[in-house]
């Protein structure tokens, strides 16, 4: 095989992992609340800016930057749920919890918060690219025989794999994770077994936002491009991955995110990189037309 394709495959996988981290945030929140969180892209930008501020102020080791960004992501998720979602959850019975009115209200409130946050960041930092200190860029080339990848590909892949593995462990082996799955499966049933559904929902936002924020700083350091609107494109791709994966299937979203990442990366061989964005939209269109339940969506008992 032409080494060029292997190289594009490696880049595509790390890109796909970024989309996967973002898609999990969407999927987890959609699972427990049946709503789309339109402010998820801003969590990504906030993660990148938090990391950049830390780097320019203290210049700590990369791992410390990642840990702080995770903490900022957690706080952002907590605040997001409080500001844009909690106020619309006044009634706790099943009908209100999953009602259309609630879905549309939080759609608007999260969109509003997203616009507000982005504009606020532009006001403070300006809308142009920020300068990232060169030492922190994760684009050292590594030659593996005829194939050249960069450190960022490996860092992103490993960090995302650790996060995904951790999430899988959390969801299947811990009481907290079982609570998230229980609320996702049957919110009313969760109340009857004594699960604190509000706390579980907050936790879901915290976990999803930690992943989104980490994705943001990693991409920021990979491309050296940190700017307030940076979260929009990956959020759209992740949204497509979620829809393709069947809305509430985490493995489905991850696999579809990887498919999108690899396809985009390979597509640049044939078309200009601007057109590569079309790949995700074509997938979305094809999924909606051919597999309305998503590729991995089961017959869902409620929407």
């Amino acid at each position: 095989m032409d080494p060029y394709y292997v190289q594009q495959l490696a880049i595509g996988l790390s890109l796909g992992m970024i989309y996967a981290l973002m898609a999990i945030g969407f999927t987890l929140i959609f699972g427990v609340l049946n709503v789309v969180n339109f402010a998820h892209g801003e969590v990504y930008s906030i993660g990148a800016f938090a990391g950049l501020l830390l780097i320019t102020a203290f210049g700590p080791p990369l791992l410390a930057v990642f840990l702080l960004v995770l903490a900022v992501g957690a706080a952002t998720g907590f605040g997001l749920e409080r500001l844009a979602f909690r106020p619309f959850r006044r009634f706790s019975d099943e009908a209100s919890l999953k009602s259309r009115a609630m879905r549309e209200a939080t759609l608007m409130s999260s969109l509003a918060l997203s616009i507000f946050t982005r504009e606020a960041m532009e006001l403070v930092f300006g809308s142009e690219f920020q300068t990232v200190p060169l030492d922190y860029l994760i684009n050292e080339p590594i030659a593996l025989g005829p194939v050249t990848i960069v450190t960022g590909d490996i860092i992103i892949f490993v960090a995302a794999a650790v996060m995904l593995g951790g999430l899988q462990y959390l969801l299947t082996r811990t009481a907290t994770g079982r609570a998230i799955r229980a609320v996702s499966n049957n919110p009313l049933g969760a109340k009857y077994v004594g699960i604190n559904t509000n706390r579980t929902i907050v936790l879901t936002f915290v976990i999803g936002s930690m992943m989104g924020a980490l994705a943001g700083i990693m991409v920021g350091l990979y491309y050296g491009a940190i700017f307030p609107a940076m979260g929009f494109t990956p959020a759209v791709k992740a949204f497509v991955a979620m829809v393709m994966g069947g809305l509430s299937s985490i493995p489905g979203a991850v696999i579809c995110a990887l498919i999108i990442g690899v396809s985009e990366s390979l597509a640049t061989t044939f078309v200009s990189s601007v057109w590569a964005d079309m790949v995700a939209y074509s997938f979305l269109l094809l999924t909606l037309v051919l597999f309305p339940q998503g590729l991995f969506g089961k017959g869902r008992d409620r929407v």
Binding site: N186, L188, G189, V193, I195, T197
Partner: protein, 237 residues
């Protein structure tokens, strides 16, 4: 003696509708109380109010003398008031074992042997998906899940609904068996005959209020019970 569960003049208003009006009843320690009535009279709403899914708009609910009216559902469960709710509300995407682990809460699987001894059918299907169980097995899982917490009060909402006669008998035998183990049970049923056979006392709800109450033995022969179920109005003396 303080009853384990006391409902004292509870009213529930949702929107402009009065669902429950001035409902009072007492569940003594180790007793079985039945709530009877036809569809849509407020039986399930009462059960949901006890479990904290709905908030009572007036009156009080007390557990061992402690006021629990304003508590949230998870706080009520933490006090040992467990419900096998209407519609079963099991976690269909998870295995039987996972349903039971979640039901156990802080106790985990400590009660698993006990629950499996009550429902041998569940023991054979622990790693099966809960959604693939038959209706009767789902009902067993629903009750078993509640028992995993060693409840001080067990609320059963229509446990025999939609089950074959043989299973209905099984469920009612089970209720007597768990009573003999010291559990206190509040049961909502449309199958008045079966419920009155196991209960100590019973209350009939109509239009959101209790219209008849008394010892189950006396009510079993009361013509007004049949009338209530046929949708006729009960004449309260």
């Amino acid at each position: 003696m303080t009853p384990i569960l006391e409902i004292d003049g509870v009213g529930l208003r949702i929107g402009v509708q009065d669902i429950l009006r001035d409902v009072s009843l007492r569940l003594p320690q180790g007793g079985i109380v039945a709530i009877l009535g036809s569809n849509g009279v407020g039986k399930t709403s009462l059960m949901r109010t006890i479990s904290g899914v709905y908030q009572a708009t007036s009156g009080a609910i007390r557990h061992q003398g402690e006021d629990i009216t304003r508590l949230q559902s998870h706080e009520i469960v933490a006090r040992g008031i467990l419900q096998a709710p209407e519609g079963r509300q099991i976690f269909s995407n998870m295995t039987v074992r996972e349903n039971l682990v979640i039901g156990g809460g802080p106790h985990g699987l400590a009660e698993l042997d006990h629950v499996v001894s009550l429902f041998p059918a569940l023991g054979e299907r622990l790693s099966q998906g809960a959604g693939s169980l038959s209706g009767g097995e789902q009902q067993m899982l629903c009750i078993g899940r509640a028992l995993m917490r060693k409840p001080s009060v067990l609320l059963l909402d229509e446990p025999s609904l939609g089950l074959a006669p043989k299973l209905v008998r099984f469920i009612f035998d089970l209720i007597e068996r768990i009573r003999s183990e010291g559990y206190s049970v509040l049961i909502v049923e449309q199958n008045a005959k079966a419920a009155l056979r196991v209960a100590d006392t019973a209350s009939v709800i109509e239009g959101g209020r209790i219209v008849i109450e008394g010892p189950a033995r006396d009510l079993a022969d009361d013509p007004r019970i049949a009338e209530a179920y046929l949708g006729g109005h009960v004449h309260v003396p």
